[in-house]
Amino acid sequence: MSQDNIEKDQPAAAWEPNIVGFLCRWCSYAGADFAGSSRMEYPPNVRVIRVPCSGRIDPLFILKAFQQGADGVLVSGCHPGDCHYSKGNYYARRRMTLLKKMLDFIGYHPKRLRLEWISAAEAREFADVVREMVAEVATLGPAANERVENAGQVAPTPSPLSEESVGR
């Protein structure tokens, strides 16, 4: 079996949740590392993107991830009061809150976006959050099914009248 097939067939063969995780480098990413050095096993469905601070996470990142076919997005930063930059996570909290309210209103399942405060010491918490979220998203099923055609494909939704169209 060729290398990239492994990569490709994974979703095809048996659907697995695709979750993107944005972790602040000081707390949550370190917490994830700690979970590693403590050999805590958790499912491989989360793709971690390291950012300096949860305050760096533009709601645009999350929306783009969903548009690209993510089934869930995990946002994690330092506990309130512990932000390495003292305030970033407070802004993140407001942004993510409004974002979630909007996604819910638009019809996305609220469980697909998760905000967690995980410190560098909280290896167990990180592993638990990943396990829990993967399980939850797995029961929700592929976001692409909810948002019909095209998520994540190279080609976008066909223009409504073009041949590829499945009708508006």
């Binding site: 645009l60 548009q67 407001r94 019809g107 948002r147 019909v148 066909p158």
Partner: protein
């Protein structure tokens, strides 16, 4: 009353121009046909004669000030329009000293689509338009007069209007340079609200899957003409993320996913800044119920942060600000 008021408006505008207080008065004038009203940019005292005032003055003229002004400008504003002016001042896109606000009374504006529907075949016959209180009067060819009650064609935002006082004239903002024509006006108690239309409540009440389908259909109609963005008074970015190519956040190729991304990000960008003028929805050629989302977001902002955009320049928009009391506003799940 409207006629007399229009006269006062023309006089004030002419005076502002002849005194040299302002280089331009932005107001309303009759459009290409008697049943159309369009923004007017008056630069000469004589020009002021073209100004009109009636319930077809739907446009929020603040949007013409979002990229600043050269020289002093006077702008005609309905009470609710002043909120957008406040936002522009708050976000430093306007200089108060260059701005003369001419506030006019408002009995609500028409939903132009409903108005045209009500007018129907008579459209071609209309010679002139005038207004009596909450009735629009259309003089028809051959002497007839068609009377359309505003209540029957009222814009939804007016049915739900909570801003009958110009916010801009709060002492903190008034430089005493403004012209108030809105005093003593009697706001007829908001006419029967037609909330039956797609309002946030109705959509929120739908089962999630239905909501999802509703919005997918809506967004898949979008042709990305960007009229919503162009008309929005708080969409004042010099370069919109949607036009960004490094990276290309939103593909230029068409399709629901791309259009949805554009709209969702735009909703977030105006969240806590949107002053609810409803222009985005008015101009959408595909009639996507955009204000349903912006209203919903404003409601969330109100409940979460106790903030109402466009009331004061003292406060900071909620996403540019936080308090330690936010605690677990995100909630679980």
């Amino acid at each position: 009353m409207m006629a007399e008021l229009t006269e006062r408006l023309r006089a004030e505008a002419a005076k502002l121009l002849s005194d040299g207080r302002v280089a331009m008065v932005i107001g309303y004038r009759q459009g290409p046909t008697p049943t159309e009203v369009v923004p007017a940019f008056i630069t000469s005292p004589e020009g002021a004669e073209a100004l009109v005032l009636n319930s077809l003055c739907v446009h929020n003229l603040a949007t013409y000030l979002k990229s600043g002004t050269d020289g002093n400008v006077a702008v005609v504003a309905k009470p609710c329009d002043t909120r957008a002016l406040v936002s522009l001042l708050q976000e430093r896109q306007l200089k108060r000293e260059q701005l003369v606000v001419v506030t006019v009374p408002c009995v609500g504006v028409a939903d132009v689509r409903k108005f045209r529907a009500a007018l129907g075949e008579d459209h071609a016959l209309v010679q002139s338009l005038s207004q009596e209180g909450q009735d629009l009067l259309l003089a028809l060819q051959g002497g007839g007069v068609r009377r359309i009650a505003l209540a029957d064609v009222l814009a939804r935002k007016c049915a739900e209007c909570a801003f009958q006082e110009p916010t801009l004239l709060a002492p903190s903002l008034s430089l005493g340079v403004d012209v108030r024509l809105d005093e003593g006006r009697a706001w007829a108690s908001p006419p029967p609200s037609d909330r039956a239309e797609a309002t946030a409540e109705r959509i929120a009440a739908m089962p999630r899957e239905e909501r999802l389908r509703f919005w997918q259909e809506a967004f898949s109609r979008c042709i990305r003409c960007y009229a919503c963005r162009s008309v929005c008074p708080v969409c004042f970015c010099n370069k919109c993320f949607a036009d960004e190519t490094m990276p290309q956040w939103v593909a230029r190729s068409f399709g629901r996913a791309e259009s949805e991304l554009f709209h969702l990000v735009r909703f977030i960008h105006v969240a806590g800044r949107c002053t609810g003028c409803g222009e985005c929805e008015r101009v959408c050629p595909m009639e996507i119920p955009l204000t349903t989302v912006t209203d919903k977001m404003n409601q969330e902002v109100r409940e979460l942060f106790g903030y109402e955009p466009g009331l004061t320049t003292e406060e900071t928009p909620p996403l540019a600000h936080f308090t330690l009391e936010d605690l677990d506003i995100f909630g679980k799940g």
